[in-house]
Symmetry: C2
Amino acid sequence: MVENDSDSILQDSKNEDIVFLVVGDPFGATTHTDLVLRARKKGIQYRVVHNASILNAVGCCGLQLYNFGETVSVVFWTDTWKPHSFYDKITANKSRGMHTLCLLDIKVKEQSIENLMRGKKVYEPPRFLTASLAAEQLLEIIQQKREKGEKDIVLAEDSLCVGLARVGADTQTLLACTLEQMTSVDLGPPLHSLVIPGYMHPLEMEMLKQFALNDSVIDMIETLERNSEHSQS
Amino acid sequence: MVENDSDSILQDSKNEDIVFLVVGDPFGATTHTDLVLRARKKGIQYRVVHNASILNAVGCCGLQLYNFGETVSVVFWTDTWKPHSFYDKITANKSRGMHTLCLLDIKVKEQSIENLMRGKKVYEPPRFLTASLAAEQLLEIIQQKREKGEKDIVLAEDSLCVGLARVGADTQTLLACTLEQMTSVDLGPPLHSLVIPGYMHPLEMEMLKQFALNDSVIDMIETLERNSEHSQS
């Protein structure tokens, strides 16, 4: 609504106080920045109340916020549109030792091509990209790169990742496992996020072990821990 | 207190509910992750309430959160200790077009070397690194690099930066100006942060103009806008 109807929000604010509630921090979305800008230009006083956002709440998985690189968005692939840009950003972060938070696509109020062409305002049911499907898309990119003979592929089937579901809610679920394992995991209802860790400090690994899928993932993290101790000594 | 005394917090939680309040998001500090880890190991139930943090509230300056690279910490320099690491991270972000949030040093409960040696538990008054002093330290590094004849210096005296003070409070102050200008600006009481923008989209520039120090800064941003339009067309 705010995308198409911000003028009516601002119009009403001439006579009364208007509150506009959002999920996450108000400045997480360009649309809200635009609303603030319009208000300023009209001389309408505003006050922003900041809020927790997945951008900092992701810290609940134990990976330290200051070790995250650029945040990426993973979109739903279609049969004809399979962008790879998020993969490149993840590997750029990982190569520099940084973690990556992957925000997963949300499709609400989408029309089928048929309904769009017929001008029917019938909307598809909302869809939310799961950590599982995001991992699947990542693995498909890796597979393609391998088939093309590309070297220095930073991610693989056995790369560690963390799935986060409903962060901050009572049903919050965190799971650390390999990308391969993530493809067959069901973290339950939305919203999901996916984190690809970079270099991890001992405390980060210790925390991640708490959310390990199984003992073999704990073994994997402990092997990383030992290797990191050796490289430091 | 939590650094040295987390055991007593956990001890009391056996018999009663304990609430531990922090500034920002609980997982912004390694210490709090450690506390959660200790609680888990002792089988103590816990619940984390996430909160706004400067890591997302920084969006109030108009720069989009997903365009920020790695966050850096700028420390108070001493006569003998002047680390440059934050400069390198800022320029690495900027070279990739990303913005950098600089968190500025906080010194509380610090002892003078004299009191430390005498074992006197007398603490110095708290100190908070200002955006102004941070800009000064950055310019000193740039000057040194220039004297050494280094090329490709990404930042200069006339680079744009944004000072943020008391974000989220009623007295919040935002100011966009050059690094040189920032050195002589007083943003008032703590806490301050400093942002070094990377590549900016039109909406980001539009918002930044709202906080420009003076007309010459607005001109500067508008020149950037025109150059970015030309490079796109």
